[in-house]
């Protein structure tokens, strides 16, 4: 019989770091909640999605140059596969890290079909594959991925002094360079100047992907459709200094520059801050951020060590559960608690839920990603729509299969000692099962994390 303290720790692991307990409830990891979280980090293969029907990098790139119906088909298949894993995974710490990093490198599928077709493949092969690897690896693969090149407008960025730039009087696009500094690495106030941004854009110039029209007009072979492509003749010649580093102008120039940015202390602090803000609190303090940043720096950006440092913070287990589950987290936690899968024929409900709550995957317009502040999600309209939407999904999941437990037994199992007296009373005394389950999923204890 686990102690109350053990159950509370399990609740922290499941709710703050994971996607919620499954039917077995908090007891599943109550022996050693922290150990269970750390064990997930030792098994990164659990975050891999290997579904045959999903496209390879080459296939996804080519689909990116096709039409909307083909791109949308892939996009929906990617979402189905992802949701299925989120519901099956034991605790969900790895999945939460996937969500974190995908949002860190946010893209919107509404910008272009290239992104719609490729963003799922990007998440599988860059985020999931690199989840416990080095940040510099993830950064390099991101920056040279067609979806990101497309999203941040680097495809036509041409150095003005390159042969192509001279011939066409073409110029640089600084969008990717700016966001790389401001959002992906060193962060605002990271000590970079406009000149650093301009120089980074020069380093990035010529790193493009092959558009459909380039193949159609015979400029590129069919096999390169939608694939990453470096155009030597578009690349701004010379060496360019960014934040004190000036790599030689050769094929290693961009990777070296990205490695440099990926391992700077400013980057470590920025990443650590974002992790603490996402998982622990809206008000990160140096006591929380510095140990995580230190772990990042000391391990040269090893993301497993960084995540481990976050879990090892004593405050991670004692801070009040003041943040608020995002709509995606809430929806997944609900199905996990009920022991249900969202199957393909009901996927539209999932989409309606997330669209209504403004958290449909890869639909945040700007590169800063979905906001992480509690205020953004805990809003009047958000609270109202959550209640209506949870009532709807609870009903749909109950239609699928009889819940194996009464509402009060389920509440005991997933909330454990965190359940307040009033929540317990109201769930117990509500005759209507749909209503009683809805109270559980909408309770502060279930929604706060």
């Amino acid at each position: 019989m686990p102690s109350e303290e053990q159950l509370l720790q399990a609740a922290v692991a499941f709710q703050r770091f994971g996607l919620g307990p499954k039917r077995a409830g908090l007891r599943a990891i109550a022996d050693d909640a922290r150990g269970a979280l750390l064990e997930e980090l030792d098994r990164p293969a659990r975050a891999r999605i290997r579904v045959r029907a999903l496209p390879s990098y080459e296939e996804a790139g080519a689909i990116g140059t096709q039409l909307f119906p083909q791109q949308q088909e892939v996009f929906l298949a990617e979402q189905t596969a992802k949701l299925s894993l989120q519901l099956r995974t034991p605790i969900g710490f790895l999945e939460r890290l996937v969500m974190f990093w995908s949002n860190h490198f946010n893209m919107s599928v509404e910008k272009k079909g290239q992104i719609r077709a490729m963003v799922g493949q990007y998440e599988r092969d860059v985020i999931r594959a690199g989840l416990t690897g080095r940040f510099s690896t993830m950064l390099r693969r991101t920056v040279t991925h067609p979806a990101m090149i497309c999203y941040l407008d680097n495809a036509d960025s041409i150095g003005p002094n390159s042969p192509a730039g001279q011939y066409w009087h073409a110029g640089l696009n600084e969008n990717l360079a700016r966001e790389l500094m401001e959002l992906h690495t060193v962060g605002v106030g990271g000590g970079y100047t406009e000149q650093d941004v301009g120089n980074l854009a020069k380093v990035l110039s010529g790193h493009s992907y092959v558009r459909g029209w380039e193949v159609d007009n015979g400029y590129e072979p069919e096999s390169k459709r939608g694939q990453y492509q470096f155009h030597e003749t578009w690349h701004e010649p010379g060496r360019h200094r960014v934040l004190g580093y000036r790599p030689a102008n050769n094929s290693r120039q961009l990777p070296r520059m990205l490695d440099h940015l990926a391992t700077l202390p400013q980057t470590a602090q920025h990443i650590a801050y974002k992790l603490v803000a996402h998982f622990l609190t809206d008000d990160p303090t140096p006591e929380l951020v510095d140990p995580v940043a230190r772990a990042f720096l000391d391990s040269e950006g090893d993301l497993k060590e960084t995540a481990r440092a976050l879990v090892m913070l004593p405050e991670a287990w004692t801070l009040p559960m003041a943040k608020f589950r995002t709509p995606q987290e809430l929806l997944i936690a609900q199905a996990r608690a009920l022991g249900q899968e969202w199957l393909e024929d009901d996927l539209w409900r999932v989409q309606e839920f997330l669209k209504a709550l403004g958290h449909y995957p890869w639909h945040w317009w700007t590169p800063d990603g979905y906001p992480d502040e509690t205020d953004h999600w805990l809003s009047p309209n958000g609270m109202r729509v959550r209640a209506d939407a949870i009532q709807m999904t609870t009903w749909a999941l109950m239609q699928r299969q009889e819940p194996g437990k009464t509402p009060i037994r389920l509440a005991n199992s997933v909330l454990g000692p965190r359940m307040s007296r009033i929540t317990r009373t109201r769930i117990r005394d509500t005759r209507n099962e749909l209503e009683a389950f809805s109270i559980l999923f909408l309770s502060p204890e279930f929604q706060r994390r």
Partner: protein
């Protein structure tokens, strides 16, 4: 704090009484919505009762399908398969005609309450939905990134204590860039989900009140807004669809006591690259839906319609020339549509023409003015925003962009028009019969 249920209700709005009755019926307290909004009601209201709804038509509206320049000698040559037969369209003025899918808009135009600016352009003229929507919404002079939207900056320059500022910005369906910034934003979205049952709401309200004050306050306010928007029970009729329900909710909230005065609503689905349809089809259906939604909004506004300007804008026009797939591609010049009791109806601004020389590169409508001229024209007359504030804060670096005059009726003109309408109403006391409406739509059968 709770407000007495006998507090005054805005009876000028068609929905005000109904909403209060329902709340009484439900035994609810008025709660946060009113305590947040009520305190300034007693103050002098120098802005009067002005209401503004900005509708963002996302995807790029094919303006030539809505506002049809039948008089232009190049119209049929340019539009080819998309050209509308003149006899099928509805007459506006100056030779312009309207798509027959928009009979309600036609009636508004005839009543002097609808206006078009036929061809405006964004400061940033590229063909990306992404960049153009950003530019339309941030109101900046060009390809600058702006983290705030011009509607938010508009409210930031309105005087505190005025209902227009204290009522906050209302964002419907989503929270787009145009409303983002330092000023607080209220959200409401039309959803088809059955509303949480009474028992669930009561239990949750009690639990939140006992355990989590922030959740309690937000839940109460969210429910209050939803009720005022008509989302409760049968008010939000799922058969009307979320477009009409969105506009209905906007109307109800814009005329609720102490509620928001400025709202933004997005309408998706204008990106018509293929088989858009001429008289019937995808785009005509979409135009008809907008027509019905605007009519529903007008109904929900009741008497406040007289104080209202609705501005419908899109991120770019579409190619004047039809493409190879019976559609239109991303273009340049685009119309702005305005409706409302405070709108000075008619066609404002010049027509660039569809001749080879008139078009840009032979396929795009040439803008005759910056879209900010239209926005500034509305804001300066309708809301009385000072020119300096418009040129520096609301639309930074836009001193060279003059407001387009004459879009909004001045108080004197409004009074004269109301008098004319009163006379007309006496002369013609009955409503138009369905047959008259039919004839107005379809014309008289030729012998």
């Amino acid at each position: 704090m709770t407000r007495s249920l006998s507090s005054p209700v805005d009876t000028t709005c068609s929905e005000g009484r109904l909403l209060m009755d329902r709340r009484q019926m439900l035994g609810m307290t008025a709660g946060l919505f009113s305590t947040a909004f009520m305190p300034n009601l007693a103050r002098a209201n120098t802005l009067g009762e002005a209401r503004l709804l900005v509708v963002v038509l996302r995807g790029g509206l094919d303006g030539l399908s809505m506002l049809v320049p039948s008089f232009d000698p190049d119209y049929e040559r340019v539009r080819r398969d998309l050209a509308l037969p003149v006899e099928a369209t509805l007459d506006l003025s100056g030779g312009f005609r309207l798509h027959p899918a928009m009979p309600n808009l036609h009636a508004l135009y005839q009543a002097g309450q609808a206006a078009f600016v036929p061809s405006v352009g964004l400061p940033l003229q590229v063909r990306s939905h992404f960049e153009c929507q950003e530019n339309l919404e941030n109101g900046l002079a060009g390809n600058d990134r702006g983290a705030s939207g011009w509607i938010n900056r508009l409210l930031s320059v309105m005087p505190r204590g005025e209902a227009i500022r204290d009522g906050r910005i209302l964002a419907l369906q989503s929270n787009p860039l145009i409303v983002r910034g330092s000023e607080p934003v209220l959200n409401w979205s039309s959803t088809w989900f059955t509303r949480a049952f009474d028992g669930l709401v009561t239990n949750l309200s009690d639990i939140y009140a006992a355990r989590d004050r922030v959740m309690a306050e937000n839940f109460a306010l969210g429910r209050e807004i939803d009720i005022r928007a008509g989302g409760q029970g049968a008010e939000e009729d799922p058969s009307l669809g979320s477009l009409v329900n969105g506009f209905l909710g906007a109307g109800r909230l814009l005329c609720s006591v102490g509620g928001p005065r400025v709202a933004v609503l997005s309408v998706d689905g204008w990106d018509t690259h293929a088989y858009q349809g001429a008289l019937t089809g995808t785009l005509p259906t979409q135009l008809g839906a907008l027509d019905q939604a605007l009519q529903a909004f007008r109904g929900a506004m009741g008497a406040q319609w007289e104080n209202t300007v609705v501005v419908c804008a899109t991120e770019f026009g579409r190619t004047a020339v039809s493409n190879g797939t019976h559609g239109t591609d991303h273009g340049v010049g685009m119309p702005v549509l305005m409706v409302g009791g405070a709108v000075q109806g008619g066609i404002h601004g010049d027509w660039p023409g569809l001749s080879e020389a008139g078009l840009i590169d032979g396929h795009d409508l040439r803008p005759v003015m910056d879209i900010r001229s239209v926005f500034k024209g509305v804001l300066s007359t309708h809301l009385g925003v000072e020119p300096d504030l418009l040129a520096q804060t609301v639309f930074p670096d836009s001193a060279a962009i003059a407001p387009l005059e004459g879009l909004v009726v001045t108080p004197d003109a409004a009074a004269a028009r109301a008098a004319r309408r009163a006379v007309a109403a006496m002369q013609s006391p009955r409503a138009m019969s369905p047959f008259e409406q039919y004839r107005q739509r379809n014309g008289v059968l030729a012998g």
